[in-house]
Amino acid sequence: MRFSDYCSLTLVIGLFILAALLPLIPDSDYLMSLALPIAMYTVLATSWALFSGPTHYISLATGAFYGVGAYVVGTGIEFIPYPVLLLIAGFSGIVLAGLVGIATLRLSGVYFVIFTLGLAELIRQLVTWIQNNFTGSRGLYVLTDITENYIYWQLIALTALVFLVGWLIKRSRLGFALRIIGNDELVAGHCGINSAGCKVILFMVSGCFAAVVGAVMAPRFTYIEPSMAFSPELSFQVVIMALLGGVHRLWGPLVGVIPFTLLWEVIASSFPTQTVLLLGVSFLLIVYFIPDGVVGRLEDLVKSMRLARPGSNRG
């Protein structure tokens, strides 16, 4: 590692420590109510971008994984210790992603998008059906002594983990293979890369994180209901934030998450009835005007400034 790498590493660790110290500030309730969703969406959007960034496959199923994670905790909280539940949630995320991936990722991206579009709704129907016929009650109570601060620290730890995993993947053979697949799948196939296999593995990683986030967030709900846990808006918000930030860099989604969560806080409190419409409109604006995300725009700007310099010497 070079000196600058050590510098950025220290900077990142420093930022994480600062973020982790946030709940210790006295009277930080309001700050926490902003920081918690930011941390949550950072994990979701970054893990989403881990898969969708290099492969260009748009997953609309974050909500499904999230809901599965939340339901694992909701169902098992009375019998199984919480940390084990987190592991089970992550594992069920992996299994679900694996099944979806094996069915769809061998084929072109359209099938995958369609499959993930309805996945949350499908699982919601199944869960509702099971609850109506076998357990009797619609909702689940999650009563624990896990405080908001504890959830926040878990999310911060997950954020660190997702960045670490993303960094490791980028340096690994898998990451290299993915870059080739993203640029030209045909070439990747000719190089002997099992492109479907790579995608499935990456989708499993992404699904695992989303499920664990759902599990971590479950104690905050106290009452879980299918229509709440599997809301389509969650999948949508994650895609928006990741695209707003930019999916080509590991830290890109973070750049989108922070402003969007803050903006959303304002919108949700001032126009509570029009949130769906505004969500759609803001999404369209991003797709049309900043398709590469803020980070992509900034990088373009830096590049053009570098190119402009020799030109100005001439003039």
């Binding site: 260009h56 748009i58 609309l60 069915a103 769809t104 084929l107 991206g109 359209v110 099938y111 998008v113 369609i114 499959f115 579009l117 309805g118 709704e121 499908l122 129907q125 199944l126 509702t128 059906w129 109506n132 016929n133 389509p232 949508f236 895609v239 695209l243 009835t273 029009q274 949130t275 769906v276 419409l277 505004l278 969500l279 759609g280 409109v281 999404f283 369209l284 797709v287 049309y288 398709p291």
Partner: protein, 288 residues
């Protein structure tokens, strides 16, 4: 027998939805995830016409079709054409249109929530029994089925015998070659997209005569239409009609044998089977 007839009655309406999507995806190459919202908008229009003005839903078709056509044309012209121009490849276009129409679907749901609120809406039209083979069926279902069959037949005739239909089929098989034989590709795509949207809205009217809908249910119908189109083979209208029947019967089977809340699961099951065994569609050939 009852299941089969009910499945057929439902399948005919699904065929209509699938035709709308086939026109949009097969011909205009736009993967429209907002298709179901168009359907719900059509259903809302029929609901409004019936409850507020006592107009029969079948007369509502007369004003819904031009409105939906114009709306979809505007969407194609001003929202999707820039994406078509910007796209460097088919894959890029696919990603962009999926994202854009996904955003549109949310915007449309938002607008409909604003106009109509989040309640379920239903109205009672021709809700009287009608006997086929000795067992009673809702007359509204039968009439909706007949109307759908009629419209499907009309489209089928238009696509397989008229010049415009031939141009559309040419676009389906190869857009680059189509422009070589003097087919105005952008105009034809816009026409197919708008027509597809109008057909979807009509499908919504048909569904609204016998189903209870709400503003955010569109995505379920988008899913079903997409599954039918893929099962039938993209751009293959005959395949889509048969796939729609299969889906209608499968859903009715699941609804009557297991639980009416699991219809989407039935659709997914078919989808998975198709993906695993015949991803090129029921009558499709493997791409070479």
């Amino acid at each position: 027998m009852e299941v089969l007839t009910n499945g057929f009655l439902l399948g005919a309406t699904y065929a209509l939805l699938a035709m709308g999507l086939t026109l949009q995806y097969g011909v205009a190459r736009i993967m429209n995830l907002a298709n179901g919202e168009m359907l719900v908008a059509g259903a809302f229009a029929a609901f409004w016409a019936f409850t507020a003005n006592q107009i029969s839903p079948f007369y509502a078709v007369l004003f819904v079709v031009p409105l939906a056509f114009i709306f979809n044309w505007l969407v194609y012209r001003y929202l999707l054409t820039p994406l078509v121009r910007r796209a460097k490849s088919q894959g890029q276009l696919e990603v962009d249109t999926i994202l854009a129409t996904f955003g549109m679907s949310f915007a449309l749901v938002g607008i409909m929530l604003m106009l109509f609120g989040g309640e379920f809406f239903t109205y009672s039209y021709l809700a009287e029994p009608f006997e086929i083979f000795g067992s009673p069926y809702g007359l509204n279902r039968v009439v909706a089925c007949l109307a759908s069959v009629f419209i499907c037949g009309l489209l089928f005739w238009a696509i397989y015998t008229t010049r415009i239909g031939m141009a559309m089929r040419a676009l389906t098989s190869n857009p680059d070659a189509a422009s070589l034989v003097a087919i105005d590709v952008p105009r034809m795509s816009a026409l197919a997209f708008s027509l597809g949207g109008a057909v979807s809205a009509v499908g919504g009217i048909m569904l609204s005569t016998f189903l209870t809908l709400d503003a955010s249910i569109g995505v379920v119908f988008t899913m079903k239409a997409l599954i039918i189109v893929i099962m039938g083979g993209v751009g293959d209208i005959r395949g889509a009609i048969i796939a729609a029947m299969v889906l209608g019967i499968a859903e009715t089977l699941v609804a009557s044998l297991i639980d009416p809340g699991l219809t989407l699961a039935a659709a997914y099951l078919l989808f998975i089977l198709v993906l695993l065994f015949k991803p090129e569609g029921l009558f499709g050939r493997k791409a070479i």
